[in-house]
């Protein structure tokens, strides 16, 4: 009896909701121009790409790119801090217009969101305590490894483990954010964590997490990252692509890179293939 009334109520609710649903809104590019504001999803615990400065204002390379893009469009930039796992939900839920959040261009993600052309390249690497005996990638086989949930390195490592070390006693623990993984390795909860080379260099330079050192590079290949937005927003993706292209042509991207990372901007092209 109770359950029937429940099903009835659920059906009524679902019907009510479905009749409320309006047809698709205008083009995302129009929305952004119309609102005079671009909302960028950025991961803010991933220095030097995204972090909070002494006044708790967002800063970092991804934040700077968002501001530069806003400037190019003649709108205001609003940086929305998200965790790794929240990036795509924040786009889908319309809380943000674009994710400039060091997101690897995986085919799995492309089933849900649309990617721009690449704007940065990383390597995946292990971060280990300074006195760790881990020296080669194979040494991670039996280690307790940490990684932030929702990242490419976490899913790549899981897949790699399953394919190459199926019976090894090594363990993977997932964390909600990048900082939690750094805390975990510095506290000694895990033997190593996986992150990107730039983030690891920054963490070691900061000295905030005790004595850590950069470990072996992951054999997953280059990590090419792009902006993400809704899959169907072709007009918006075209605009973002042109922005990235022009920001590189004009040298603006190199300027931002020099400010936050230093050195020469990595090559964004893949040899032997069209984009």
């Amino acid at each position: 009896m109770k359950s029937w009334s429940l099903i009835g109520a659920a059906a009524t609710l679902a019907f009510g909701m479905s009749t409320l649903v309006a047809p698709a809104a205008a083009d995302k590019l129009d929305d952004v121009l119309g609102s005079g504001k671009i909302r960028c999803a950025v991961v803010l615990d991933f220095p030097p790409m995204g972090y909070r400065d002494a006044d708790n204002n967002p800063a970092g390379m991804d934040v700077e790119i968002c501001k530069d893009l806003a400037n190019a469009m003649g709108v205001e930039a609003e940086v929305v801090g998200v965790t790794w796992a929240e990036r795509i939900p924040s786009l889908i839920s319309g809380k943000t217009d674009v994710a400039i959040a060091s997101s690897s261009d995986t085919l799995e993600r492309a089933k849900t969101v649309g990617f721009s052309i690449p704007y940065m390249v990383f390597q995946f690497q292990a971060l280990i305590p300074a006195d760790s005996k881990i020296s080669t990638w194979e040494d991670l086989k039996n280690a307790h490894v940490g990684a932030a949930i929702g990242t490419t390195y976490e899913s790549s490592f899981t897949d790699y483990k399953a394919a190459n070390w199926p019976d090894a006693p090594g363990k993977l623990s997932t964390y909600q954010s990048e900082t939690e993984t750094f805390m975990a390795v510095s506290q000694g909860r895990v033997d190593a964590v996986i992150s990107t080379d730039t983030a690891i260099a920054n963490v070691i330079a900061s000295g905030k997490y005790g004595d850590l050192k950069a470990g072996p590079i992951a054999p997953f290949g280059a990590d090419i990252v792009g902006f993400m937005t809704l899959r169907k927003e072709y007009g918006w993706i075209n605009y973002l692509n042109l922005y990235i292209n022009r920001a590189n042509r004009s040298g603006r991207m190199q300027e931002i890179y020099s400010e936050y990372i230093g050195g020469d901007m990595p090559d964004l092209t893949s040899s032997g293939v069209y984009y």
């Binding site: 649903v21 939900p89 849900t112 899913s155 909600q176 939690e180 805390m183 506290q187």
Partner: protein, 221 residues
């Protein structure tokens, strides 16, 4: 609505989700056992005539009841790490939930004991029963009746709270759901399925408790 619901990933993941639901039950049962035992001790502590046990029990109860469970979980997981105490996700979540449950159950026990008039105690003692006999035959059965339904509610509450284990890296039902969500980005589908699983668990526990309560307490009124 532009969104296309896509259920196959959920159906594929269902066995894993049900495994994770078992972990949820493990966490909840262990936390409940610890919480009940410690809660009983705390309720005695609060009635103690000595200052130290009384104060310590009161502090425990008030902190447990006046701070968020999520805070308690984070504290056990990350806060203790600063002292070199590393609890695994499982232990941290069980510790926090036991701490919380003990605080709430202590108050429930207190209500249960208060419901029994002192005259009964005196009568039993004057019949020559020892303290433990009095507790065993007179007090505990009556207290159990008073606290049985609040205890059942608390247990369901613990099951629901264990979902916060997700935020401390525990792959219980909610953690596992988040894991699949992070792979497939089917947030609504996965969390809807999980909501149904929790609802079913809560109803089964409630039903089980009703049946058990009916067996335990029938004919005693």
């Amino acid at each position: 609505m532009d969104y296309q619901f896509l259920w196959p990933p959920v159906i594929k993941a269902l066995p894993k989700l049900l495994d994770a639901a078992l972990l949820t039950m493990q966490v909840s049962v262990i936390s409940m056992i610890f919480g009940l035992s410690i809660g009983l001790l705390l309720s005695f502590g609060r009635r103690s005539k000595y200052f130290i046990p009384r104060t310590l029990s009161s502090i425990w109860v008030e902190i447990a009841r006046n701070t968020p469970v999520l805070f308690q979980i984070f504290f056990c997981y990350w806060g203790l790490g600063e002292f070199g105490i590393f609890l695994s996700s499982f232990v941290a979540v069980v510790t926090a939930l036991s701490f919380n449950t003990a605080g709430y159950m202590a108050e429930t026990f207190r209500g249960g004991f208060n419901a029994i008039p002192d005259t009964q105690l005196n009568a039993a003692r004057s019949l020559g029963m020892s303290f433990f006999q009095t507790q065993r035959y007179i007090i505990v059965p009556q207290v159990l009746r008073v606290i049985y339904y609040p205890m059942t509610n608390q247990f369901i509450w613990v099951i629901l709270m264990s979902s916060l284990g997700m935020l401390a890296g525990l792959r219980e039902l909610t953690g596992e759901t988040q894991y699949f969500n992070s792979r497939t980005f089917r947030t609504f589908e996965f969390f809807a399925a999980t909501a149904v699983i929790y609802y079913i668990i809560a109803k089964l526990v409630m039903l089980g408790a009703r049946l058990l309560g009916w067996r335990l307490f029938r004919g005693q009124s």
